[in-house]
Symmetry: C2
Subunit: 464 residues, 2 copies
């Protein structure tokens, strides 16, 4: 084809096709049909979605793109909400959806080796079949891939016990922008032999390389569960409860719902009202353990102590798996938020817990002062400093979007909080990053980016 005068986009597609074969390449409507965003239909403008069947194919694809100065966007399950997978016209999108092998699960070493296209749910199921448990648990787990959760350092509900994705991954194989296969598939807990390459690639949002395989940590599958929802009269008491809950070594979730969130659920018509509304805070506490003889006893002692010491107004404890699921549904009512608050803005904030109530109060006051009686909901993973705030954007004021963002993030700065606790920067928060991170941190990140991807071809509009 050289010199034939064919458009560049055509000739690179031919070259990609030569690497993967036709089953490895999607173009036209097959690309258009895939949204880059899980919440709304953001058109996938990529010239093609290339789907390598192996690390070797992926390496050849990236080498080809590097030679042609072709920007590449990596798309996992496209469940991220930070715009990390948005493809522009002319981009080549890479999807590892054909690399879905779970290569090894070892209950003795407590590890699994997987290709990056495996979904979180598939890994969890395979672990369960071996008596093991992969702790990362997200609402989107059926679609989100291991590669995507590694790229974004996904969190979820059990971070308080097992950490974020970075803490649950031991090693990665990544293909760099020039096609180099950087295999760092460490299986060892302790391995002090140079820089933390795995940790660097986790959370780099596809800007340093494409993770093709990973070694993840598993834990024994828990055999006991306890869940309760408590209503609590003040944030001070919520913090006192958290301090006690942290001494329960089987603690696996400590989720807090502000009154507005709980009220929304209680009045949603979905029967999610395990306790009377009206208290300022509602807390979901969960433990996952291995000892029927003591786990429930310890959980009940925690609840009883909290009652006795006046930390809790009311409480309901699940006594069956069905009730357990019912209580979790109160906390996870995202479809109710979408239904009742849309159009709304969603924020993924972290603030030190000692300052969290003040931050939310100040933000609410500013929002109401500036925009009247807009609806809000706040909830989140308190033990991890992480809350999500939802704010209605009235249909008559679409221009309010960036002003609301300014208010929420502007309040955040004085509290030393983070503009992204678990969702990442993607394309959406690039501009914010410069205002919330020091110039020296950004410059250090940029030097690393340039060292590994000097032409800036990988996810070019993400983070930087």
């Amino acid at each position: 084809m050289a010199g034939s005068g064919a458009p560049a986009a055509f000739s690179i597609i031919d070259a990609l096709m030569a690497i993967t074969g036709p089953q490895g390449l999607l173009t036209g409507d097959d690309v258009r049909a895939r949204s880059c965003d899980p919440l709304r239909n953001v058109p996938n403008l990529a010239a093609a979605i290339v789907r390598p069947a192996s690390t070797d194919e992926l390496s050849r694809i990236l080498r080809l793109c590097a030679e042609r100065h072709q920007p590449v966007v990596t798309q996992g399950g496209c469940t991220g909400v930070a715009g990390g997978a948005y493809a522009r016209e002319g981009d080549i999108a890479v999807s590892l959806e054909r690399m879905t092998r779970i290569e090894d699960i070892c209950p003795i070493s407590q590890t699994a080796v997987v290709q990056a296209g495996v979904t979180v749910e598939a890994l969890r199921a395979a672990a369960a079949a071996n008596g093991m448990f992969y702790p990362i648990d997200l609402g989107s787990k059926g679609t989100a891939t291991i590669g995507g959760t590694i790229a974004t350092n996904a969190g979820g509900n059990r971070v308080i016990r097992w950490g974020m994705t970075r803490q649950n991954v031991l090693g990665v194989e990544a293909v760099l922008a020039d096609g180099t296969v950087m295999s760092s598939l460490n299986r060892l807990i302790k391995n002090n032999t140079g820089y933390a390459l795995k940790d660097l690639f986790v959370g780099s949002e596809g800007t340093l390389g494409i993770v093709s395989r990973a070694v993840v940590k598993l834990v024994p599958a828990p055999t006991t569960q306890s869940v309760a929802i408590l209503s609590v009269g003040s944030f001070e008491k919520v913090l006192a409860l958290l301090a006690r809950a942290r001494q329960v070594p089987t603690l696996s979730a400590f989720e807090v719902m502000w009154r507005d969130f709980y009220d929304l659920m209680a009045h949603s018509g979905t029967n999610r009202r395990p306790l009377a509304p009206g208290q300022p805070f509602y807390v979901l506490v969960e433990t996952l353990g291995y000892h029927a003889s003591v786990d429930g006893q310890l959980f009940e002692a925690f609840l009883a102590g909290a009652y006795e010491d006046g930390l809790v107004a009311d409480a309901v404890q699940a006594t069956s798996v069905k009730q357990w699921e019912h209580l979790w549904r109160v906390r996870e009512g995202s479809e109710v938020i979408v239904r009742e608050l849309s159009p709304f803005l969603s924020f993924d904030i972290s603030v030190e817990i000692s300052a969290l109530e003040r931050y939310v109060d100040k933000t609410y006051a500013a929002l109401h002062r500036e925009y009247g009686d807009m609806r809000t909901v706040t909830f989140g993973h308190l033990g991890d400093n992480n809350i999500h705030i939802g704010v209605t954007v009235g249909p008559d004021k679409p221009e309010a979007k960036s002003r609301i963002e300014d208010t929420v993030y502007g309040t955040l700065r004085e509290f030393g909080g983070s503009i992204s606790a678990e969702h990442g920067i993607g394309q959406h928060k690039r501009a914010l990053l410069a205002r919330h991170k020091s110039a020296e941190e950004i410059e250090t990140m940029r030097r690393i980016k340039t060292a590994l991807d000097p032409a800036g071809l990988l996810n070019p509009q993400v983070i930087f």
Copy 2:
């Protein structure tokens, strides 16, 4: 002084003195008197040891050294055994021993902010005074500094519960080779805003920058302890015990001693013989918890179950703090090893636990085949894949040293193990690294090194 013809070493010392004042500079015998190695007297050949009193002074020192192409070696407590603090003639050594402020301890957020010169012991004591606990626990904790343990990603005895130093540090402030103060003093558990700079600096052994301050994670101070030593008839049974112990959520140590190690202690004349010798393995199990009502019960149930199912030949459980310390002394008998085995070589190895017994057996067989009846000891942190092997080097065969190393490391390669589990690479294992890590990993590390320290001035002979 410009153009005065004074020797370069003199003029830089004058310039350093101008930054720190005389109390910030050690020269001559004050430098010579400090060994670069905790185990033997390795002369400190540095032209000076400069001791900044603040991050600002440190920044000016590094800017000066960058301008003069002056290599800089960072020396913390000099307790590392990988030669990471060795200073060559003409080097400038930097010590943060005057930066020892514990700036903040917050029991609510469970964090402390410290200057890098604080010793691990001082931090642990300050945490304890606030009802909190810093989990990193090393034999050298009285001398090892937070900065040094961050540089080396120190491990120790409680990794199975709380992880290595990397998992216990939330943020760092580091001064780069050009004097840039890169402040990334994150206090948040969840903060997905770009690359994992903290994780990259932890374990970089002073080659990317000098860590000047850090935010560390604390946990509530445990209030219950249980310790036992068990004798076990096979490695298979040791693994079965470990799998059960992992289900005890308060598990804080699972230390295994091979027969040769235990025999050495049992016959050392130090009364470290809680159980009869003769079994192939001895295991120290510890739990640290918060609930007197159930922690002991769970520990005893673990022991009883292990007995009933034939996993344990014999066991002794501590019933007092004194006995608790006595049992730990069996495992920590490094002075007995030094006395009985010297001159000896010490190895810090990790291998997946499913292959660990085969690795040790094969290594022992190779050592005995090649060098006759040399003495060995093996022990370590089994849950973390980490063992330490000590091998006598007979006084009549000093040339045996590198041959023994070749044997131990050579056997390691086929098992996919690591040449350094927790001690780091330093200067001692540079040559080995190239044989045990892929060229692509080393090249990626080198690109990062060059991006942050283009002239290669920081710890120039460490890692690379």
